[in-house]
Structures are given as structure tokens and as C-alpha cells.
């Protein structure tokens, strides 16, 4: 895992100092070394986290004749198989790095190469022969890639902070991106929270050639029409899923030249990946878990049950509310997005534990809920359709008790909740029926926006227009999965809570559930088998029932959460809070109404952060994160340190003292 950046210039030679500053801003992503390539048109920068072929693999890297260059962040897990194919076609390799496979695959197959890659990547590839720069991102958006245009130049980087080191790049909030965040929890690619800055959408590449820009989607999630699903039965599908997940996990565990650890959350998904490693490899495993001092959020008992069964060397970090408050500014700096929950903060502390334990790579369970239908929103979708077929039926309204058993103990509350939350927007023809109640809940935060920060228009209609025509024929569950894959997964789970919290401490995450083969196989299965009745991830449970302890396998699903308002007010507010939420600071940012912010803070202070509504908790975290972004990113001083040493220089620009390649320490 690494940081990448660069410049494509239309007239002037790219500034070598600028690309080094960009690399400096990405030092945390690759502390093991750095490098840049420059010629008369392009500069490619790289900071390296050495994982594969650690003794070689300096980037940027070229093909045999130096006509194709790449700067690469991520892993192509099937690089061994691709290398064999390419060697058979006459390509010569100098290293054993997956990076080198990319340039040769491009020479051999062009953009069709991307379909052959199984991995997680963002890269910039410069083909001097045709004058084409390609920015490419993996299928699900595991690895980030941002870009902007300024003064006739294109700047790109793994994180937006690399772009902001150029003083010509405007730093202001994108109000549409903010509106999308206050609807879906994140902007929808290519939009970002910052005006003028875009991101390459997942499964896409951008081509720049001869002054033209072309965005090409090489992959998108596809689901079968209802009735056209793979006909295999439950046991056959469970066996097929098991086989593919074992292969995907082993690939991610074994294809590394440094030790790989595993996260264990206490839930099913990481239990599956850790158990596969433990059961199907010979290597001793180190596992890492988050604990919370607040029992409401702690999953320690489930973690301990699994660890007893696996016998791994286990490491834990126990997170207090104060820890979250203290680390929050740093978390927001790395996340570069407004946050509605503090949940990324403990993930930051967990990756720090991994780093301190001497590890650089962890396998985790991210993606299982999206690919195999684990989220409550999917189960709610089924209940809402059931209710929507006869909205007046009191019997159907009782189905909500299947989702939330506590309602059976509160018979007076259930009908009202059912009507209020599930009874809204029950238009069975609505392609986003699954998500309307949740989007409504999040959108309530917009009441705090100033008039200047409000936009007209509806973010949800913009998203549903992007749904493929064929989605009309899909099962409602598949449509709900598509919406998650377009919003929360790439925009929040893999970004603010994933890549950014891992890379802040120079840790690479690997995600077997987002393997290309696993995804394709899962999408072809009947929706009714993924959630059988209302049993979420039924096939996953069936597939691994023999190696997961029953207590973990059968436990009620608990979404990963951390204390929100309580983190900042239970034990007295952290030092930074008053400063960024003062009336002057809120007015200067111009996003939220200062009097409403003051009332919200007063309420949280009075209640010591306890007993706030779900919406107030989200409001508070949104205000704090937006104010911190304004202070740190928009008003901040973007003067990064030097790129990590040693630095490889491949300077082929006419102004340099002749072509020269060297290593600077």
C-alpha cells in the first residue's frame, strides 16, 4: 500500500518541487521510501509501504524500454498468474512486484487489462508512446484517487491533502457534496466534499490524451433479473461461496513478503476471515481487536470466544470516550470528509495498535454486509415490501417485531413505530424504496444549514437516475445492494472508516469479501437465499458453520458503533472543541447556523452527551467534523515535510541536467 500523486501539464514542464511536496503530504501512506518520475509532460510521485518484493519495487516503475510508467497504490493479488501469462507472451520482468505486471498488462491488453486484475488498486499510468495518462481505480473503490484541474494542469493524488499543497488549488466546501453527505453519509463519486476536486469513481478509469478527457466504466455491479438467478440450491451455493472465500482469503494472506495479521471484531465477517486463515494455512496468526470501556459498545465476550477457538496471539486496544475526543481532529484530518459518527476514531486507534505490534498488513471482514446482504436496511426492505403490499394490514405491521424483538415487549409502541418509520414512502415502484426512511433520517441534519449552504434539488433523484435500466428487473434486495455499493461502501466504509484510518498509521487492509470472484458469484445467487426469510447473510453462516463458534454464528447482528456525543461531553469537553465551535468559527465556516450550533452544544453539555437522540448525535458529530475540516483543511497551512527517504529520482525532463536516474537518501 502506498501513496500516489502527480501532475499532467499542458504546456509547462511539471514542477519537480510541487510533486515532492505532494509526496510529502502522503508520507503516512508510504513511510518506507519515495520516488518520482518526470518528463516534459508528466510527473508521477510515489511513497512506498514495502510489502511485496520489499528489496526491489522502487516506484514509479516502467516497462523494458521506459515508454510506459506507473505509480501504483494497492495490490494485484493475481499478479503471479498474470506474470506467467505475460512472460509467455515475451514480456521481461526485472522484479517480482505486482506493480511491474501493470505496465506489461497495459502493453499487452490496453484497458482490457483492468478486467483481468483481481485486487484493490489506484494507479496512474503514463504511456509516452501515445501521450495518454490513465487514472484507474478498483471495482469497489477500496483505494482512493482524487484529481483537480488548475492553471492548465491536472493534479492527482491518493488523498486530497496532496492536491491542496498547491496554493493555486481552491479550498472550499462543495455544497452539493455536503448535501449528499447529509443524505447518504458521503458524496457520490465523482463528487467530493471540496469544490473543484473530483474522485475517479470505483470500477472506472479516466483517460487524458491530446487535451481530451474520457471517463470509462470498465466494471459495475450486475445482478440477474428475477427468475434468472443461478438455480443451485442452498447447500450448493454455500459450498461454492466457501470455496471462493477460502481462496480469496488465502490469496490475501499469503501473497505478501511481510507478516499479515487479522482483525477480529466479534462479528461474523471477521470471524470467517480469521478462521479461514487459522484453519487453512500453516502460519501462526496475530489478531487485533477493539474493546470499548463502555459496555454498550463492547464486543469483547464474542472476541474472546472466537480467540479461544482460534488460539491466535491476540492484541487489543480498549478505547475510552476521552480517547475518541482527543484523537478526533487527527481522525478528521485523515478522513478528509465530514463525519456523522465517531466510529472511524476507534479504527484509527486499532490500526495504530497494529503498527505498534510490528505489522503492516491486516485482513478484515469489510464488504461482507454489502456483498452477502448483512445490513439491517436489507432486512427492513423485505419487511417494508411485505407491509407495502397491504399497508392497512395490522398483521403485516407486526412483522416489524421480527426485526426488532424488543417491540414484542412494547406492544403499544410497535404499531406507531411501524407506521412512522416503515410506513413511509411505501411506493413499491420506487427503486430506492429500501433506503427512503434512512435517507429521511439523515436529511434531518440539513435543518441546521445556513441559507447560503443549502442547495435546491434532491440528491436522491440524482442517485436513482444513475441506476442501470436493468435494475428494474432485479430483485428489490439487489437494488438495495446497488445503492449501498454506490454510496456507503466506497464513500464511507472503505474511505473515511477504512483506507484513511488504516493508512493514517501506514497499515494496508485486505478485504476477501471484495474479491472479484466472490462478488460475481454472490451477485448471481438468488436474493431469497442471501437473506433467507429474514436471516441475514444466511449463506455465509451455512458455509462456515463448522469452523465458527455457535455463539458468534448465531448472535444477533450488532452494527459497529462508538460513543458519539458522550465522547466529547461525558467527562468535560476536549481543549479544541470550544475553539472550532465558537460563534466566530461557525460563522466563518458558513455551513451551519451559529445559534442552532450553540443550542445543540449547550444541550449536549447539559446532558453530558448522554440521552441525545440519534439525530442529535449525528448533528453534533457533523458540526464538529465540518468545523474541523474548515479549520484544518480550508484554513490550514499545507506545508508537508520532505518525502520519505530514500527517494528514487527518474528525471527525464529537458530542463534537468540531462536524463538522470538516481537514489537520494
Amino acid at each position: 500500500m502506498c501513496g500516489i500523486c502527480g501532475v499532467l501539464a499542458s504546456s509547462l514542464i511539471p514542477d519537480a518541487e510541487l510533486v515532492q511536496r505532494m509526496m510529502g503530504a502522503l508520507s503516512h501512506r508510504g513511510p518506507d521510501g519515495s520516488g518520482y518520475y518526470r518528463d516534459e509532460r508528466v510527473a508521477l510521485g510515489h511513497t512506498r509501504l514495502a510489502i511485496v518484493d520489499t528489496g526491489h519495487g522502487v516506484q514509479p516503475m516502467s516497462n523494458e524500454d521506459g515508454q510506459v510508467w506507473v505509480t501504483f497504490n494497492g495490490e494485484i493479488f493475481n499478479h503471479v498468474e498474470l506474470r506467467a501469462q505475460l512472460s509467455g507472451r515475451g514480456h521481461e520482468f526485472r522484479t517480482h512486484c505486482d506493480t511491474e505486471v501493470i505496465v506489461h498488462a497495459w502493453e499487452e491488453w490496453g484497458p482490457a487489462a483492468f478486467d483481468r486484475f483481481n485486487g484493490q488498486w489506484a494507479f496512474a499510468l503514463w504511456d509516452r508512446r501515445s501521450g495518454e495518462l490513465v487514472l484507474c481505480r478498483d471495482r469497489y473503490g477500496v483505494r482512493p484517487l482524487y484529481y483537480t484541474r488548475v492553471g492548465g494542469r491536472l493534479l492527482f493524488g491518493s488523498e486530497m491533502k496532496a492536491l491542496f499543497v498547491d496554493p493555486e488549488v481552491t479550498r472550499e466546501f462543495d455544497l452539493v457534496g455536503l448535501d449528499e453527505t447529509l443524505t447518504f453519509w458521503s458524496p457520490v463519486a465523482p463528487r467530493t466534499p471540496f469544490s473543484g476536486v473530483k474522485q475517479v469513481p470505483p470500477g472506472s478509469y479516466l483517460s487524458f490524451r491530446g487535451g481530451t478527457e474520457r471517463l470509462v466504466r470498465y466494471w459495475a455491479p450486475e445482478f440477474p433479473a428475477r427468475g434468472q438467478e443461478d438455480p443451485d440450491d442452498l447447500d450448493e451455493h454455500a459450498a461454492g461461496l466457501r470455496e471462493r472465500l477460502i481462496a480469496a482469503t488465502k490469496l490475501r494472506f499469503e501473497r505478501s513478503d511481510v507478516p499479515v495479521g487479522a482483525y477480529v471484531s466479534g462479528g461474523l465477517d471477521s470471524a470467517v476471515t480469521a478462521s479461514i486463515i487459522s484453519s487453512f494455512t500453516e502460519v501462526e496468526l496475530d489478531t487485533f481487536s477493539l474493546r470499548f470501556s463502555d459496555a454498550e459498545f463492547d464486543e469483547g465476550s464474542y472476541q474472546e470466544r472466537l480467540i479461544r477457538s482460534l488460539g491466535t496471539k491476540h492484541h487489543t486496544v480498549t478505547v475510552t470516550e476521552r480517547d475518541i475526543a482527543d484523537i478526533f481532529p487527527e481522525v478528521v484530518w485523515h478522513a478528509e470528509h465530514p463525519l456523522l459518527r465517531t466510529a472511524p476514531a476507534p479504527m484509527f486507534l486499532l490500526s495504530r495498535l497494529v503498527r505498534e505490534s510490528g505489522y503492516k498488513v491486516v485482513v478484515t471482514g469489510e464488504g461482507a454486509d454489502e456483498v452477502l446482504a448483512g445490513y439491517d436496511v436489507f432486512r427492513e426492505t423485505k419487511v417494508r415490501y411485505f407491509q407495502g403490499r397491504n399497508p392497512d394490514s395490522a398483521l403485516r405491521a407486526r412483522a416489524v417485531e421480527l426485526l426488532y424483538p424488543w417491540m414484542a415487549r412494547s406492544p403499544n409502541l410497535a404499531p406507531a413505530f411501524s407506521r412512522g418509520f416503515f410506513g413511509r414512502h411505501l411506493d413499491l415502484a420506487d427503486p430506492a424504496l429500501s433506503h427512503r426512511p434512512r435517507w429521511d433520517t439523515t436529511s434531518a441534519l440539513k435543518a441546521m444549514l445556513t441559507d447560503d449552504a443549502r442547495i435546491s434539488g434532491d440528491a436522491t433523484s440524482g442517485l436513482t437516475r444513475q441506476m442501470p435500466d436493468a435494475s428494474r428487473t432485479w430483485d428489490p434486495l439487489a437494488r438495495a445492494q446497488w445503492l449501498e455499493l454506490a454510496t456507503l461502501l466506497p464513500g464511507y466504509v472503505l474511505a473515511s472508516q477504512g483506507d484513511r484510518m488504516l493508512m493514517a498509521n501506514s497499515i494496508e487492509g485486505r478485504f476477501p469479501f471484495l474479491d472479484a470472484e466472490v462478488g460475481t458469484y454472490a451477485n448471481a445467487m438468488p436474493a431469497r437465499q442471501k437473506i433467507l426469510g429474514l436471516d441475514e447473510k444466511h449463506l455465509l453462516k451455512r458455509a462456515f458453520a463448522d469452523i465458527i463458534p455457535d455463539e458468534v454464528l448465531r448472535r444477533p447482528k450488532q452494527p459497529y458503533r462508538a460513543p458519539d456525543a458522550a465522547s466529547f461531553f461525558a467527562g468535560g469537553a476536549p481543549d479544541w472543541l470550544a475553539d472550532v465551535t465558537s460563534e466566530a468559527a461557525v460563522t466563518a465556516a458558513g455551513i451551519f447556523r451559529a445559534p442552532m450550533v450553540a443550542r445543540l452544544l449547550e444541550k449536549a453539555r447539559r446532558l453530558r452527551g448522554a440521552g441525545l437522540s440519534n439525530t442529535d448525535n449525528m448533528r453534533l458529530v457533523a458540526v464538529l467534523s465540518v468545523q474541523l475540516l474548515h479549520r484544518l483543511v480550508i484554513e490550514g497551512d499545507h506545508r508537508p515535510g520532505r518525502p520519505p527517504s530514500p527517494m528514487a529520482v527518474f528525471d527525464h525532463a529537458p530542463t534537468s541536467a540531462g536524463d538522470h536516474d538516481c537514489i537520494r537518501t
Binding site: L234, L395, R398, G533, H538
Partner: protein, 69 residues
């Protein structure tokens, strides 16, 4: 048995609601499954354990609702 009820996979049907201890709630989960697979709407009067509590009960109910019995 009618055509519709034979489209319900016995293995799948048997596993629906297996974790539920309340027979009436389990019947609702079975109803969700049946409607999902067959794309039909069951009337309120059959949304109970008497009609949907056993595989035979489900088959008879579906056949009656779809007019195949």
C-alpha cells in the same frame, strides 16, 4: 400439489424462521418468504401458524390462494 407450491424449495422453506420461538411471528417470516418467491399477496386470514406453520400447511394455503386447488 399445485404448480405454485412446487416452486417453493423444501430445503429453503424448512430453514425459514428456524431461529424464531414465536410460532405466529415465524408464520409471518414464512409469509414474507412465500410472497417473495411466488410474487403473490397472501390474504390476512392465512397469515398465521395454522396456515403457514408446517410445509403441508404452506402448500395447501398457497394452492388455495392461487386457485390451484
Amino acid at each position: 400439489m399445485g404448480t405454485s407450491s412446487t416452486r417453493l424449495n423444501a430445503g429453503e422453506l424448512a430453514a425459514v424462521g428456524a431461529g424464531s420461538t414465536d410460532p405466529e411471528l415465524r408464520a409471518l417470516e414464512v409469509a414474507i418468504f412465500v410472497e417473495e418467491v411466488l410474487d403473490i399477496v397472501l390474504p390476512d386470514e392465512v397469515l398465521d401458524a395454522r396456515h403457514l406453520g408446517t410445509p403441508d400447511g404452506v402448500a395447501n394455503t398457497v394452492d388455495r390462494v392461487t386457485g390451484e386447488r
